[in-house]
Symmetry: none
Subunit: 192 residues, 4 copies
Amino acid sequence: MTDKKPPVRRSEKSRQAILTAARELVAEYGFAKLTIEAIAARAGVGKQTIYRWWTSKGAVVLDSLIGDTPNGAALPDTGDLATDLREVMRLTAAEMASPEIQASTRAMNVAVQTDPALAEVYRERYLGPALASARDRLASAREAGQVAADADLEVAAEVLFGAIYYRWSLGLGPLDDAYADAVVRLVASGLR
Amino acid sequence: MTDKKPPVRRSEKSRQAILTAARELVAEYGFAKLTIEAIAARAGVGKQTIYRWWTSKGAVVLDSLIGDTPNGAALPDTGDLATDLREVMRLTAAEMASPEIQASTRAMNVAVQTDPALAEVYRERYLGPALASARDRLASAREAGQVAADADLEVAAEVLFGAIYYRWSLGLGPLDDAYADAVVRLVASGLR
Amino acid sequence: MTDKKPPVRRSEKSRQAILTAARELVAEYGFAKLTIEAIAARAGVGKQTIYRWWTSKGAVVLDSLIGDTPNGAALPDTGDLATDLREVMRLTAAEMASPEIQASTRAMNVAVQTDPALAEVYRERYLGPALASARDRLASAREAGQVAADADLEVAAEVLFGAIYYRWSLGLGPLDDAYADAVVRLVASGLR
Amino acid sequence: MTDKKPPVRRSEKSRQAILTAARELVAEYGFAKLTIEAIAARAGVGKQTIYRWWTSKGAVVLDSLIGDTPNGAALPDTGDLATDLREVMRLTAAEMASPEIQASTRAMNVAVQTDPALAEVYRERYLGPALASARDRLASAREAGQVAADADLEVAAEVLFGAIYYRWSLGLGPLDDAYADAVVRLVASGLR
DNA sequence: TTTTAACCGAGACGGTACGTCCGGTCTTGTC
DNA sequence: GACAAGACCGGACGTACCGTCTCGGTTAAAA
């Protein structure tokens, strides 16, 4: 996906095997200890087949983790902004705190830190949609008069996710409901 | 610093040479292309001398960059919270956006992402003081009645820095004064 | 040769380059100062390529020196045993005394002293044929009645070469024609 | 012994500990795997103390093995040369074949092969006396008329020991009484 | 008897080479 | 011609020892 050249004649079976192997190995050993050779071996694939279609370890990993998940589900809209934001933030926090997903997300995060090209893909296909959904919900709240007319919704969305990302990324504290709620309270209050 | 054993008998000259070499090489080539061998070579030091006192490339880099910088300067206190926060956030944003410092900070960030032990050190010696300063300024504002009595200052400080970190880390947009101001506006308003 | 696995798919060019480099480096620096890294560097080859096909420095050296030399030339047979033996012993002595060959032979000797597996190869491909040739000549002399019927030709051959080897190996004295002749005189006389 | 400078003020205790450690380690691991550091550690001695008094690993080993053994015992003289030689050769062969002594002797042999200075010491203090004893016995046999007047006794002695050394050094065959006897028979016959 | 300097243990130091791992490229034979 | 397999060159890894160099502590001769 990430680096596909004009898809001339490509073994879908190999592609899937590679992505699956990458996913498994990241889960088992983490991003740092992951090697192209190990992916090839586990996938039963020649190394060249990986190099033919991806540019780096990070590209494979990103591809394997983003996969075909859309990640663009619209936020719930119960009419009460704080309630809806709270739900999403709690969910996001819980997801990032969950041990099963940790390894993958950390891997993706490191990959993205290291390679601007991957960051581009990551933003477009993963973060962008999530931020857009939040922005949309905020816009609908503004229309409902729950948010000040001059509020910068773009920034508000970023601040919400940024708070969680910051705490998660640097291990500053627990990612529980209380934290999610506190962030939502602050931002929602600031938006009024 | 990071991994010093009971200070047996250690060459201060070598230690400095290693940290300097690490700092330079990170600036020149970035964290990913940095090698222990290169550090040793530039520092005119045996590899063993590095392995004797540090546990990993990341530990050396962190040590070389945190150095002896306190990073705990108190925030200005003009009496107006928004003004003071704006100044600090603008400064922080500008610092992280500046190309000269980019390489170092990215390096430190990757190192920390990869090794929980380093993250611990980073939090204690670098982030902690910065967050504490912000918290202190918010506390003084609360006493001045500019902040609601029940506001969670801890979370507020994190949200402020988190917003900048998020945008910087993932390259979501420009780190200019406008962004810093927007974040401050939202948070300051939320705190009232 | 020494350690070849089922000849999978091996670069003959690299093999030759390695053996040549080993030969040169032994001649230049001697066995003790020889390193695998130096061989790889001079041969323009990855170290792994050496480790893939040989088990040790000694194995490479032995291979490089034994090469494809047969070393099994039959002894001359002029009809007079003493004359023929004298010629071979003089030649052998001169060869081992010659400075150009010294380094190689000493290297091979040390390699063989250190590793029984190499000794095995050395005996079979190098010493064995030489001893066999001598034994054959003695046998023909016995048929001609110049040697006692009950003489142990095997031992006689060993004694001949052993005398030279002993003096050479431990530097007990000059390896000149006089010495070769003295040894031949003693043994030939003992065989009658 | 080997490299002693004017024995200013030297800890006899350390010296003994080093030699003992060297002897033990050679027996346990062989000469190739022996390291100065290991000797120092086992002897409870600083490395410098070894380097102060010896020039190389080989020098320590040689010193530790030659020790103060004279090795110059005169050969028995029963009146019958062949009998006496047979006894000495059998004994020598058995000694070199014995597994307990193997490691030491091989170590000494390798050390000597590698360093001409050690070879010098080895010849003077170890081989020389042994060869001289044999030569003396041959001389007495010549006086008794058992050996031709023009025989080269020097060479004869070398040939005797050389045969055993050759077979032992290169592993050409068993070092049993039969071999010792065969060598003696050939040489004794040649001397008449 | 006190000084003093060499010796000693310990072990850090700048280095070199080790043998291994992996990156990214190239080659071979199969499908 | 894409593919699995894996050899190849290169280069960094982390370790083991080298031989040199402090650093106190201890001795034994000189003062």
